[in-house]
């Protein structure tokens, strides 16, 4: 039975009221007195030398305030990269400069060349059309393998070549892996592409810069998942503004999915321009701009090989991946194909030897960075697909092959440098078998065939590393930041609480779920607790929301701060009750003396803290406010098993998703309703990747999929109702809530199930198909059938 409030209850979301009544406060809803508008003139060619930018005609256009080009940023730092990867030779990656406005060259379609600030957006756009940019077009490099040829045009003339890094992991294992492959009874090899995607949160990015002359304070309102990170990066590395003179506000944010983690040029621009123009400056991205300026995701090309012994045990795994960085290094781009990908290659299986090689490549395309799952979908996809192919080649059941190789004992140290604390992969597979009614599949296949359709079933597992991350570990791995989280819990005199968290909610429902935890700890009503987030002026330094980290890291910080509150409140209660502190118990919002009927209400204690007339002033300070920073000791490891059933039209290759089931282990769960919603959304993005979405460039670097007319976003009719279950729970052992995180699982676990199901459908018709590259468009599926 659902609980009425507290941990484990499906409390309705309080934030819904404002979103359902049009009372949200998104960044584009913010308009400051006297604001001007900026329009960015962006490159329409992929690679070229800028000879001249003539703004003279545009300067005189109506409403123009000021036109900016690279010259205006001569004394300003470039866009920083937050992660430095060391390659297999021990050398640091090649790290090119990344200007705010194109300097000397343009390197991708969409790169901003000039910025027009004007009284209205329309005037800014009109004036931008009057800017004359003289560019000599250069040959563009788009394909990663072409970019690594010795005679390839260089994206950055000051680098040796287009190779950002050549990473080997674990390099010391390489020889042993080679030996295992030589001894293998069977080797399965699969080449595949993890298609390039665009995150496409429904709210396009927006940035509003403001500067207060009186105090010298800058304010940036922006669509960010992590306002403190933007404040640190932009303040320290780009504009040289000390943090105490810079406030970053990310109010209601309309989805992120990773692409709103990063620090973008437009944010630095409006902050800079607000001071230069002495008035607020606002930028609102159009969707067309978003396609060519939001960091893209995925775009890996991989060859994976799995070695098995004569009993079908996995003995070794090796991969060779090309990862597209785009033209510049976005904030966390280097970490995605390396530490967020290589470390997950063991998956759910006890493969003893693994070697991962990743070549990160610069091309004349939009920068690529984390998108929901970030490295883990790429790892899961290749591993699960090669297992399916091995099962086909060996003539064994793919689920049984997985079960045979499951990790069974925890904690488990993988050969790729991580230690899984808990999991039960048999439990989630068993649960999936039940909820997906796998036993009924053959009957459903016959029914489909009777209607002339092919039906296929795809089943796979996944594991991910969430709750990023131990700061000392990521520091060793090249991160230029810590990855703790913070919370300040402020108890008011009348007993209500405000939690100021460094986590950021942009759809995840923190305003509802976080209070459930504190309500449970203190025994008070959820409505007495309010969450504040998204404003560096009101919250302690925090690292924000991504990597399914909010409840595991931010929630843990909140628990730690609340524990401090309770400890102090017990001291106050012991004074009021004239009892020993060790005898004080907190239950249902009241402090009592163990073994007696003496008690004092929560509100009486909080009032005493702020009206300390009868109070142990000699021992403790007045007030009731505590801060905690929580730095996790390990990642968390959600896992699960997913099943997809598709129908394929024999004549057209059209694929429809008939059933989709997910059995996840997220450890303990705070709000099951919200968790299910997160899984639904992730699955839809995974199905989108598998069936529909593809970010396409032509050979000249023109972005072919630059609007919703060309980039196939999943629609309601592309999806079935999903069956999701998270009753298998092996709690995390190293955070106080036992939680693992659920934000990315759906996007990680679903693509291989979809592809596996289509392959299975085609094989049911006698087609000798083992893999089809995503997206599984009708033309590709039809071609695979021929």
């Amino acid at each position: 039975m659902p609980k009425d409030g507290g941990i484990g209850a499906s409390s309705k979301r309080r934030e819904d009221i404002r979103f359902l009544t049009g009372a949200g406060n998104y960044t584009d809803d913010i308009n400051l007195r006297g604001q001007a508008y900026v329009f960015f003139l962006r490159s329409d060619i992929a690679h070229g030398t800028i000879n001249n930018i003539d703004t003279s005609a545009a300067e005189g256009m109506p409403g123009v305030v000021k036109i900016f080009t690279a010259e205006d940023f001569a004394g300003v730092g470039g866009m920083p990269c937050g992660w430095q990867v060391t390659d297999k030779h021990g050398e640091v990656m090649q790290e090119p400069g990344h200007p705010i406005l194109a300097t000397g060259k343009v390197r991708h379609v969409g790169e901003p060349i000039a910025a027009v600030v004007a009284e209205t957006l329309g005037q800014a756009r009109d004036a931008a059309e009057a800017i004359d940019v003289d560019i000599t077009e250069l040959p563009a490099v788009i394909d990663m393998k072409d970019a690594l040829k010795t005679d390839a045009p260089k994206v950055h003339d000051d680098l040796k070549n287009n190779l950002c890094y050549d990473w080997g992991f674990v390099e010391e294992n390489k020889a042993a892996v080679e030996e295992a492959f030589q001894k293998a009874a069977h080797v399965t090899t699969l080449e595949l592409r993890n298609n390039r995607l665009v995150a496409n949160p429904m709210e396009p990015r927006v940035a509003v810069g403001d500067f207060a002359r009186g105090t010298g304070e800058h304010t940036l309102y922006t669509t960010s998942q992590n306002p403190h990170v933007i404040r640190l990066l932009m303040g320290a590395f780009v504009l040289g503004i000390p943090e105490h003179k810079l406030r970053v506000v990310a109010p209601d944010v309309g989805g992120g999915f990773g692409t709103k983690i990063f620090h973008y040029q437009e944010e630095a621009f409006v902050t800079f321009a607000a001071k230069a123009c002495n008035r607020p400056v606002k930028w609102t991205s159009s969707r067309s701009e978003a396609f060519m300026s939001d960091a893209h995701g995925r775009d890996h090309v991989t060859t994976i090989q799995l070695a098995l012994d004569a009993d079908n045990n996995f003995t070794a795994l090796r991969t060779d991946t090309y990862a597209n960085m785009g033209a510049y290094l976005s904030t966390f781009a280097p970490s995605v194909p390396t530490w967020l990908h290589g470390t997950l290659m063991a998956g759910n299986y006890k493969t003893p030897l693994i070697y991962v090689n990743v070549k990160a490549v610069f091309t004349n395309t939009v920068p690529v960075d984390a998108y929901r799952g970030a490295g883990r979908p790429e790892a899961t996809f290749q591993l699960e697909r090669v297992i399916d192919k091995a099962a086909i080649e060996l003539g064994v059941d793919a689920i049984e092959l997985r079960r045979q190789n499951f990790i069974t004992e925890f904690p488990y140290a993988t050969p790729v440098a991580v230690e899984y604390d808990t999991g039960d992969y048999f439990a989630t597979m068993d649960k999936l078998t039940e909820i997906a009614d796998l036993a009924g599949f053959e009957a459903r296949r016959k029914e489909s065939e009777a209607r002339g359709k092919l039906r296929g079933l795809g089943v796979n597992c996944y594991i991910e590393a969430c709750g990023i991350a131990p700061s000392n570990l990521v520091g060793q791995l090249g991160a230029r930041a810590g990855l703790y989280e913070s919370a300040t819990v402020r108890v008011n005199a009348t007993g209500g609480l405000v939690v100021m968290t460094g986590s950021h909610s942009h759809g995840q429902g923190h305003e509802t779920a976080f209070p459930q935890v504190i309500a449970e700890m203190i025994g008070i009503d959820e409505s007495m607790i309010e969450i504040v987030h998204g404003d560096t002026a009101n919250t302690p330094m925090g690292m924000g929301t991504y990597g399914s980290r909010s409840i595991a890291v931010g929630g843990s910080a909140m628990v730690r701060a609340t524990e401090k509150i309770i400890a102090k409140a017990k001291k106050i209660a012991s004074h009021l009750l004239e009892a020993s502190e060790s005898d004080i118990e907190l239950k249902d919002g009241a402090f009592s003396v163990a073994g007696t009927d003496k008690s004092v209400a929560w509100g009486d204690v909080t009032l005493a803290a702020y009206v300390p007339h009868n109070y142990p002033l000699e021992d403790i300070e007045p007030g009731l406010e505590e801060t905690a920073f929580y730095d996790p000791s390990n990642f968390t490891y959600p896992s699960g098993a997913y099943a997809c059933e598709v129908e394929v039209d024999r004549d057209t290759g059209q694929v429809t998703i008939e059933r989709f089931s997910a059995a996840d282990d997220f450890g303990n769960i705070i709000n099951p309703m919200i968790v299910s919603g997160q899984v639904h959304g992730g699955i839809a993005q995974g199905i989108g990747q598998a069936l529909l979405e593809n970010c396409a460039y032509d050979e000249n670097g023109q972005l072919l999929s630059a609007s919703y007319m060309d980039y196939a976003m999943p629609r309601a009719y592309d999806m079935p109702f999903f069956s999701v279950d998270h009753s298998c729970q092996t709690p995390c052992t190293h955070n106080p809530l036992g939680v693992k995180g659920c934000g990315e699982a759906g996007a990680i676990g679903s693509p291989p199930a979809v592809v596996g199901a289509v392959v299975d459908a085609l094989r049911s018709a006698g087609k000798d198909v083992t893999h089809v590259d995503m997206p599984l468009s009708p033309s590709r599926v039809w071609a695979a059938m021929q």
Binding site: G22, G24, G122, S676, S707, Y708, M713, P714, A716, F721
Partner: protein, 161 residues
């Protein structure tokens, strides 16, 4: 600039607009009704859906001047007279039919238009009707469920939560 006059959520609304001013811009910038969102520039996403003379319209694809004299209703005008959520809004909250909230105003306005014409739609009819409304958060599961529930149909058999 030309003056445009219309009724928005039952109240007279007027302002000076350029010929190129879109209805969505007029509502957001001139009238301060920022519940209507703009999520794309090709009339695909549906975050900007409002009702014009009772019909669902993408307000990013209609000039403000075209709505001169019209009755317009937006998400801000949907709640009951006492301020409580209407049946569709309440169903969206009850069934977790929204996450980030950005597509939500358009979804609610489209759902209202659907249920006006088709009070008891099937699942397939709901999904087809939402062709012009993109959501990136929910996978549509709980949106479809909420709309079916708002139509008075029993959704208890649809996967929980």
């Amino acid at each position: 600039m030309t003056q445009v006059n219309m009724t928005v959520n039952g109240k007279a609304a007027s302002g000076d607009v350029e010929g190129r001013t879109l209805l969505a811009q007029f509502l957001r910038d001139s009238q301060g009704l920022t519940g209507t969102h703009v999520g794309c520039d090709t009339s695909q996403c549906g975050a900007c859906v409002v009702h014009v003379d009772g019909k669902a319209v993408k307000s990013c694809t209609m000039l403000a001047l075209e709505a001169d004299g019209a009755e317009v209703s937006t998400i801000e005008g949907q709640a009951n007279a006492d301020g409580s959520l209407n049946v569709i809004q309440q169903a969206f909250q009850d069934h977790h039919g929204l996450q980030c909230g950005f597509c939500t105003p358009g979804m609610v306005m489209s759902a209202a238009a659907l249920l006006k014409d088709n009070p008891k739609p099937t699942e397939t009819e709901v999904r087809d009707y939402l062709e012009g409304n993109i959501c990136r958060c929910t996978g549509y599961h709980n949106i479809v469920k909420a709309i079916l529930a708002a139509s008075g149909q029993d959704v208890s058999a649809i996967a929980a939560e």
